[in-house]
């Protein structure tokens, strides 16, 4: 087994609320070998009676911050792991972690050309690692993030995304809110569809590499719409997550 996949004891260095139901945890890892944006870690909780449960969480932070990694966790009310992370874990606590894991849903600044990122809800997390890495690496490739959230209070990383979007380095974010909009909302206000993807894609072109992460229904409809628009399926990478009781 690769050494990086041994379980190691991470220390919680910080806790930060992203939205009412979403919280980020900064973990310091004693034997971190570095990761690529889009990869995840497995996290294991073990009860005193030996019962243990594992979950996979996307890494939200850029590799440049190693050996500290952030994970961003949505609180699933009837979940086994996320309520514990949200309600119990505080800085200084220790958690069993292994990784980095996965090489499929990965983008690095060394890959040139336009980039389209499509996220739904907490599906933005691995995309954020790519966006942060891109900014840290000084990449200027045309990049768009289309992020679907339910309401204005549920947009994860909103301030940071809007700030990065204003830096004129080729990155821009487009939001859509599917359930609730406040008066004066200027973004999209419906589920992601072909027309929306065409508009977001237009300035960067159909040669873009695409990464889509979100619930299965969003991933499939976005991927299918992009193929109809004319993108090569081989340039589209997807990562699905479901109600996994995270």
């Amino acid at each position: 087994m690769a050494q990086s996949l041994d379980w190691q004891l991470a220390t919680v260095a910080g806790v930060h609320d992203e939205t009412d139901a979403v919280r980020s945890f900064s973990l310091t890892l004693p034997a971190w070998t570095g990761h690529r944006p889009g990869q995840h870690v497995d996290l294991r909780l073990t009860a005193e009676d030996g019962y243990s449960v594992e979950r996979s969480y996307s890494i939200a932070s850029e590799p440049e911050r190693s050996p500290e990694v952030d994970i961003t966790v949505e609180r699933i009310p009837d979940g086994e792991v996320s309520p514990f992370l949200h309600d119990v874990v505080i800085p200084g606590d220790r958690l069993e972690v292994r990784g980095p894991i996965g090489g499929y849903f990965v983008w690095e600044a060394s890959q040139p050309g336009p980039l389209l990122l499509v996220g739904g809800g907490s599906g933005v997390v691995p995309l954020m690692a790519m966006i942060r890495h891109r900014a840290r690496a000084g990449a200027m490739n045309p990049t768009r993030l289309l992020l679907s959230s339910r309401g204005p209070g549920e947009i994860i990383y909103r301030e940071e995304l809007d700030r990065l979007s204003a830096t004129q380095d080729g990155f821009q974010v487009a939001h859509t809110l599917t359930r609730e909009q406040l008066p004066g909302w200027t973004g999209y206000a419906r589920r992601i569809d072909e027309a929306m993807l065409s508009e977001v894609l237009a300035p960067i072109g159909r040669e873009a590499r695409v990464y889509i992460c979100g619930p299965t229904a969003l991933v499939e409809s976005a991927a299918n719409a992009l193929v109809r628009i004319g993108l090569a399926p081989s340039r589209i990478r997807t990562e699905r997550f479901g109600p996994t009781g995270t």
Partner: protein, 95 residues
Amino acid sequence: MATDVTTRDLMLDGNAVAGLLADLFGADVTVVPAKCATCGEVNAMGALHAYVRAPGSVLRCPICGAVMMRIVQTNRVTRIEMRGIAYFRFERSNG
């Protein structure tokens, strides 16, 4: 909303079992191409459809839906059944 959850909602992809697969194969296999023994399509392991809320994990072909791999773990053993996979193709490292 547990009552709304359909089988389709529970579908993930091979990335969701990447840690388990790495345990079994000793390396990351999410980018390893695997050929479906049923329809012949080749897809990266990370792109297979995964159902992980069963007593084990089931990986299915994203094209035809056939079961390609089943993994069941107990405290003592890991059972892997993969007659739905015609082949894997591993890159040989130079090291």
